[in-house]
Symmetry: C2
Subunit: 222 residues, 2 copies
């Protein structure tokens, strides 16, 4: 029941990292015990949802008491396989790619970038954080060699599908995509896309389209 139960909804899986994150902050604050309603309030979901989500994986709480923060955090981390460091390939070493390589958050959380790829001949052979930049064509060789099955794609939209196809052929099973385009992957490969512009566009729907009018008549203060 713990190994890859396909009946657990993906939407539940996507909430687990938020639970882990929040539990981590709670340990940092010295909180040892938390109830589903306290945790829910902190995350912005209902207590029932927290309890239902966790119930897919086991019984982690104590009636009348709540959850032991450290214990629950360990459990969630186990479920997500966060116990060891995952090696990651980064494709695309432009402005965004460089910011990603230098961001310490990945390594701190167990995702260590171990190989860099780009197609720009001016970048090839260059170094970032002690790693050589290899051409796309080296993907089929280097990725199996290093045993990587996680990749970050930070290339322009027009080469994203090509890059993703190469990665998948090389054995990658999880892809974080920064390119603003929908990429096709087979069912046994996971992909998540981060598109800041799409996120902004989905919020402007709710905004008054004429901000000048709003600021002029002072309606901006709620």
């Amino acid at each position: 029941m713990s190994i890859n139960d396909p009946e657990i909804p993906d939407i539940v899986i996507r909430r687990l990292p938020i639970y882990a994150q929040t539990l981590t902050y709670l340990t940092g604050e010295g909180v040892t015990t938390v109830s589903s309603s306290e945790l829910g309030a902190r995350i912005g979901v209902t207590a029932a949802q927290i309890r239902r989500d966790l119930s897919y994986f086991g019984e982690f709480g104590k009636q009348g008491k709540g959850y032991n923060v450290q214990f629950l955090l360990n459990q969630v981390r186990d479920i997500l396989h966060l116990g060891h460091s995952w090696g990651v390939a980064l494709v695309g070493v432009g402005l965004l790619g460089k910011a990603i390589v230098h961001y310490t958050g990945f390594k701190d959380k167990g995702f260590e970038i171990k190989a860099l790829f780009d197609s720009d001949t001016r970048k090839l052979g260059g170094e970032e954080m002690g790693m050589t930049v290899n051409h796309f064509s080296k993907i089929p060789e280097i990725i199996p060699e290093l045993g990587l099955n996680v990749a970050i794609v930070a290339v322009p939209a027009h080469s994203a599908q090509e890059v993703v196809d190469l990665l998948i052929k090389a054995g990658v099973k999880a892809i974080l995509n920064y390119a603003p385009i929908t990429v096709q992957v087979p069912a046994d490969v996971r992909i998540r896309s981060l598109d800041p512009v799409a996120a902004l566009q989905s919020m402007t729907y709710y905004l008054n389209p004429d901000p000048k009018a709003r600021s002029r008549n002072g309606k901006h203060s709620k």
Copy 2:
């Protein structure tokens, strides 16, 4: 019916930018007409979902024909209020913040960064792309002055809530949050968070926790 219909599910709104993006690529390819099944195949959703989503806003297609790509794109852009440029405040000018300022994708898509804020005294008064870096304390003054109601938060987790509170008091109604923490906002404010680590963690659930074993016995090539 076109102005802020609250019965339209947010999940539909969040798909519209993807439709707009895909329709934009289609115009670039010279495609003039598209059916719901073609568009769905491209995006990875069903034809029925496309038709249902669009039906919340009007009747944009022609039976037996499909949708005119340019017309549908214009309609979706109107719905999302993408017709003009939105002024944006950026809070946090660290590595990530700098990458954001220099990324041309925001301006190209109508989100123009017009003010920079940070709390680090070493950065204050400095410039990025011709804009001065102001202290957090200037938020209540500068944001209403420029009439901004969209903001990007790229500060460390520990100051995210404080910054968001300041922004909201200054009139911001839409926030793109890069800090890996859940931030509380009132119901009339929209917030979307981008957390690359959380995205990766939600995928490792599906992966074999021991990649060494996988690469050793060659199971990576499917």
